[in-house]
């Protein structure tokens, strides 16, 4: 498949560099020979159809699964990620799709969950100040950090989950479908948030099914198909190129559908191609 990368890659050595990563579940090859580079201050979007291996790749990077073959280089050193805490302590933070927040606890408690300061006499004042710092750095709009997470909107919860991932000062953040459950305005807020995280100099890997979001925020789009690399695109790549890379053919259900609609709408709106 052609490599149509046009955007200038972020400068310097990659924060994360995967070479030849494979993962087998029994007879099933979920991932085959995956290569991926992520630089500091860069948002890499990972796209692909269902079953392309995106989530498996994220789980390998967050330490949930171990690769069957291949090497992971993090900040220039080859590392093995045996469990989630290994990934966390290296500086790889993951925001899971279902966010994994405790709705009965307040924002501060969620941000510091499992990492409370002073286990026998929790330092609530410092924890609250630090929470506000993190949220302010993200220009987050959270009404009160003492409100239970249950009272927050979907976008605000996403913000809390991202703020929590920033607590340990990570070098790389993995976001699994950060906008899947959100409305239009909240999606825009989360995309703003991702840009601010990138501006802090962190590497960001974002999984999404939403091509519009991907184009809006990604510096590079990496396509996976059936567990293999299937091309790398700049955010201004044409929709047809992306879709054909994702589905693996130029004549696919999406393009056929677009073609039909194009034909119908042609007299009124010649540019309608979605």
């Amino acid at each position: 498949m052609t490599d149509t990368l046009q955007g200038a890659p972020a400068s310097g050595a990659p924060v994360l560099s995967l070479r030849g990563i494979s993962k087998h579940f029994g007879a099933v090859s979920a991932l085959t020979e995956i290569d991926l580079d992520v630089h500091a201050g860069e948002v890499v979007a990972l796209v692909g159809d269902n079953g392309a291996g995106k989530s498996t790749l994220v789980k390998i990077l967050s330490g949930v699964h171990q690769p069957s073959a291949g090497t992971i280089q993090f900040r220039g050193e080859t590392v093995t990620l045996n469990d989630p805490s290994a990934a966390l302590s290296l500086g790889i933070a993951t925001v899971f799709q279902d966010l994994a927040l405790c709705e009965n606890l307040d924002v501060v408690a969620n941000i510091f969950l499992g990492r409370e300061l002073d286990p026998l006499r929790m330092d609530e004042v410092t924890m609250e100040t630090r929470s506000w710092q993190l949220l302010n750095e993200l220009s987050a709009r959270i009404p009160s950090v003492r409100a239970p997470v249950a009272s927050l909107s979907g976008g605000q919860r996403q913000t809390v989950a991202i703020a929590r991932s920033l607590l340990l000062d990570p070098k790389l953040i993995l976001l699994d479908e950060p906008t899947a459950a959100l409305g239009v305005a909240q999606t825009a807020e989360v995309l703003d948030l991702i840009e601010r995280v990138r501006d802090r100099g962190l590497g960001v890997v974002m999984i999404s099914h939403n091509m519009e979001d991907v184009r809006a925020v990604a510096d590079r789009i990496v396509v996976l198909r059936l567990g293999r690399n299937n091309g790398e695109f700049a955010p201004d790549a044409s929709n047809e190129d992306l879709v054909s890379a994702i589905t693996g053919a130029s004549n696919n259900s999406v393009s056929r559908r677009a073609h039909r609609r194009h034909a119908q709408a042609a007299p009124h709106a010649p540019e309608a191609g979605q």
Binding site: L101, R115, E116, M122, P143, V149
Partner: protein
């Protein structure tokens, strides 16, 4: 919202947690009252139902029989509350992680049997016998936790099996005689039946919570101010502390009109405060809330979920065994009846009536204290009216049903009002 990255708050800037102008913050006393009413309306009831329930129950019973509110009856009520209350404190731990222990009655019965057999029949010093009984409770909790964690047995099945097993063990331990009398005049029995605080000690102890509230209140306010966060006003801190002290001192003064405040009740209240501190101010307590609220989120946050469950099971059974020892000292005997009948459900009902949710992740140690006083008030009031235990069971069952209904409705209301 200002996009300020400064840590310190410059003069004129709003405080760190007061920058979102969309949020109304209580500024005046009226605002505080209004915020409180809003919270109640949205289903965040806290201790309110139990306090209202207590007022109703006391009013009704004192009208029906004036003896009910006499100091000495209340002193007896506190003696009786302490034993089941300690057991109920363990139930609070289990409910907190969203599980339940149905065997606390049986475990307390075995503990009292162990105490009787070791101390009276075998002449082991009382201290060691108590220690053995409590250690047995810890062991039981550990076994439950292993069955729960390793085999995934639901907690109510594990503990239902435990209920029968330990009832059998209790009967076997006590053998054919059926009951062992503990020596009257021994410190343990005196502690359970007679010992009350000297008036001066009870007055000083009653002032302690208020003093602590003042100290921690001002300390926290000063630290929050230094960190650029909003803080409670001095007036609010003092008002709350004074209110608590006045109530506590009135209660103590009233009880001192009779026999006085039982030491056993003092021990129970001490345990309640210790548990409340552990639940709200330590990492362990925060983890308990987290596991009860969202087990998977707690796991991904790096909390050792199995260990938290184990700690809850062990705490519950240990407190049940200790409550059993206290019950034996209260009754001056280890009998086959100890821990049977309504002990189990009273302990669970107390925790729920006091406001600890059956659904996990919500509650406080205070619910054991308030809940058991409600339960014992009903029991004591009905006994004074010469009503049989058949009616007592039915009424207590009804109160438990009401408490669970209130819990469920409040939960639904909280969900629709966006509170956890």
């Amino acid at each position: 919202m200002t996009d300020s990255r400064n840590q310190a708050v410059p003069a004129g800037e709003p405080m760190l947690d007061r920058r979102d102008e969309r949020v109304a913050h209580a500024a005046t006393f009226g605002d505080t009252i209004r915020a409180f009413l809003d919270r109640i309306r949205s289903g965040d009831l806290g201790m309110l139902p139990v306090i209202i329930g207590l007022i109703i129950i006391w009013t009704v019973f004192s009208i029906l029989n004036p003896v009910f509110l006499t100091p000495n009856n209340l002193v007896n009520l506190l003696f009786d509350s302490s034993t089941v209350g300690i057991i109920s404190l363990g139930i609070v731990c289990m409910l907190m992680v969203g599980e339940i222990d149905l065997s606390v009655g049986s475990v307390s019965g075995v503990a009292s049997a162990i105490l009787g057999v070791l101390w009276v029949n075998h002449g082991v010093p009382a201290g060691f016998a108590i220690l053995a009984a409590v250690a047995f409770g810890a062991l039981v909790g550990f076994i439950y936790a292993q069955l729960y964690n390793r085999f995934g047995m639901p907690s109510f099945v594990v503990t239902l099996a435990g209920l029968l097993t330990f009832l059998g063990l209790q009967l076997w331990l006590l053998g054919s005689t059926g009951s062992i009398n503990l020596p009257y005049g021994s410190p343990l029995v005196r502690f359970g039946q007679l010992l009350v605080m000297p008036a001066a000690v009870s007055v000083i102890l009653a002032a302690l919570p208020g003093v602590l509230m003042l100290y921690t209140g001002f300390r926290t306010a000063a630290r929050r101010k230094a960190a650029g966060l909003s803080s409670q006003s001095s007036a609010a801190i003092v008002t709350r502390a004074v209110a608590v002290t006045v109530v506590a001192e009135i209660v103590v003064a009233y009880l001192n009109q009779g026999r006085g405040v039982p030491w056993m009740f003092g021990l129970f209240v001490g345990l309640v405060f210790a548990m409340q501190y552990a639940l709200t101010r330590t990492r362990w307590g925060r983890s308990m809330f987290a596991v009860g609220g969202n087990r998977e989120a707690a796991r991904r946050a790096g909390i050792n979920v199995r260990m938290i469950y184990t700690s809850a099971f062990v705490a519950c059974s240990t407190l049940a065994a200790f409550g059993g020892v206290m019950a034996a000292s209260r009754l001056a005997s280890s009998s086959q009846q100890a821990g049977t009948g309504d002990v189990n459900l009273n302990a669970i009902a107390a925790a729920v009536i006091g406001g600890t949710s059956l659904f996990g992740g919500r509650g406080s140690a205070y619910s054991a204290l308030l809940g058991i006083i409600v339960i014992q008030s009903i029991s004591s009031g009905l006994t004074l009216l010469d009503l049989s235990s058949s009616l007592r069971y039915m009424i207590t069952g009804g109160v438990l049903a009401i408490a669970v209904i209130v819990d469920s409705l409040a939960r639904r209301s909280r969900v629709s009002h966006g509170r956890a």
